[in-house]
Amino acid sequence: MSAERQALSDSQWRDRAIAGGEKPRRYGSWYVAEHRILGMRSYLQTIVATSIGNPLIYLFALGIGLATLVEANLGEGAVQGVSYLTFVAPALLGLAAVMVAAEEFTYPVMLGFKWNPIFFGMNAAPISGNQITNGIIISVLARMIPTCIIYFVVMVLFGAVPRGIGALMVPIAVLAAMAVGIAIMAYTSRIEQDKGQIALVMRFVITPMMLFSGTFFPLSQLPVFLQWIGWISPLWHGTELGRVLSYGLVEPGWLTALHLLYPAAIIWVCWRMSQRAITRRLNK
């Protein structure tokens, strides 16, 4: 300890503490995000490979492979008056974003409390539970947005986006996927004992949602008693709004508003729930 430090009076120490809390209170969420983004470097190759590889694979398989079959049966304006590729593209973009969300809001959240309990370390420094929650969200956005942009560029190269305004699909997909992801976090942040809950979430929530959200076929094709899955799925809302933007799918104005408000409401509620759960677990 320096001589200058020794000489501080009690009130100067108090002032040092008050000043020491200032930046962490203001920027704490960003510091957490910075930490987590640095952590992502350990699997950076996977991130890059999947964000470039996925759109190529999916667009080839569905937009070209499956589309041939669909269009052979139904003609060129096969689904909703557009090609199958154009129809399926907004959904694929949403799926890609949801996959990032499902990856980042499940194990890493549990891990931070248990096997790699970095959240406790952050909290021992001047970082609050709310800031940890925010930092996780920011870091996932930092991975999800570039993934979606790359996906969108590949979609354009495939000729899957007829209208320029279709670029707005990117923020819409992010919105929908964050709604799914933050809802997952509201749950995973509460898991204290790992009994395979995350595998169950993947199998019984994420997978059915991916299949039944008007992704590969319009929701109206489903029997009525299964259509509710689409209505409660943020992915369906995002996909439908993506279709409005991409090729001008016609729907009532209130429905378009719902496509925006519903995921936003989920984000807000589940974000608060996550903050509360994380704060409570840190304060034992």
């Binding site: 300890m1 430090r5 020794q6 009690d10 009130s11 120490w13 108090r14 040092r16 503490a17 008050i18 020491g20 809390g21 200032e22 930046k23 962490p24 209170r25 920027y27 704490g28 510091y31 910075e34 930490h35 640095l38 952590g39 350990s42 790699n116 309990p117 970095i118 406790f120 370390g121 952050m122 909290n123 021992a124 420094a125 001047p126 970082i127 609050s128 840190l282 304060n283 034992k284």
Partner: protein, 312 residues
């Protein structure tokens, strides 16, 4: 003449922490002066770690008063934590980051600039004798190295108080001694140390003053030497007669020394002169399997105060 005494850096009075109907910390009071090395000695489950978490401003107290650097943790959590270094019971380093990066990201949590953190990280790696492991994965470090890295991380913000919860539990003797040496240096530099331990030798080595804690309460307080003087005899004679006979023999030896404690594996005879006590046993015609005369330790103080041993 007392006007130059600096205010305590930690003041706890009647501090409690309850979970439902169980009181983990049950009304404890203590003060820690700046630059002091203060210890909480007690067995597992005594409430030491809970106390540390309250002092660390991460766990809200259920009752009583607590002030750290003159601030109330309920209101000034981040401010207080900005002046603390915390070494938790189990390391919570980020296994996904390399050694040096662990220090860098941690320094950022205190709002330090990147250039500042980088410089400090290199100094601390030097201090923790980990400079050659800067780029290693945390997973590849030994237990002692991880512990030293955790201490280095706790020092990144140049803290006024360093909180250490069981700093050497699980380390081999050599690693413990390296760690103690580092903590001594910090103490010499004027950092206030608050540590919990259930190792009496650690408490004796490191603490200027300590409280003996059991079941959430303080049983005694003082310097290690004063506690031993007050609650134990100068020497202790340990005799073993075999686990079957120890208890029976303890009754037969009554009257030798100041006091006799019978443990499952040995009999402890408290006396100012251990050798003399051993001679009297021989005179009575008893032959212990082994015998040992040693100085009294904090372990004896704890046994005296609670009727139980520290490490069970």
């Amino acid at each position: 003449m007392w006007d130059i005494v600096p205010a305590p850096v930690i003041t706890a009075s009647d501090l409690t922490k309850s979970y439902k109907d169980f009181a983990a910390v049950d009304g404890i009071s203590f003060e820690v002066a700046p630059g002091e090395a203060f210890g909480l000695l007690g067995p597992n489950g005594a409430g030491k770690s809970t106390t540390m978490r309250m002092v660390g401003a991460v766990s809200t107290r259920s009752g009583g008063d607590l002030s750290i650097l003159g601030l109330d943790p309920d209101q000034y959590g981040p401010e207080i934590r900005s002046q603390l270094g915390v070494v938790p019971q189990s390391d919570n380093l980020d296994m996904e980051l390399r050694v040096r990066d662990n220090l860098i990201v941690y320094g950022r949590y205190f709002g330090l600039r990147r250039s500042q953190v980088a410089k400090r990280a290199d100094e601390l790696l030097e201090f923790a004798q980990l400079a050659d492991r800067a780029k290693s994965k945390v997973d590849d470090l030994s237990g002692g190295m991880k512990r030293r890295l955790t201490i280095a991380r706790a020092l990144i913000n140049d803290p006024r108080i360093l909180l250490l919860d069981e700093p050497t539990t699980g380390l081999d003797p050599q690693a413990r001694h390296i760690l103690w040496d580092r903590l001594f240096r910090l103490k010499e530099q004027g950092t206030t140390l608050v540590l919990t331990t259930h190792y009496m030798d650690e408490a004796e080595q490191l603490c200027d003053r300590l409280v003996v804690v059991d079941k959430g309460r303080i049983m005694a307080e003082g310097s290690p030497a004063a506690l031993i003087r007050e609650h134990s005899s100068r020497e202790v004679l340990e005799v073993r007669f075999g686990s079957e006979r120890n208890e029976a023999m303890a009754t037969q030896l009554a009257g030798i020394g100041d006091r006799i404690e019978s443990l499952p594996d040995r009999v402890l005879i408290y006396s100012s002169d251990g050798e003399a006590a051993l001679e009297r046993i021989a005179h009575l015609g008893h032959e212990p399997i082994t015998s040992l005369v040693r100085r009294s330790s904090l372990e004896d103080v704890f046994l005296r105060l609670t009727g139980r041993t520290l490490v069970e």
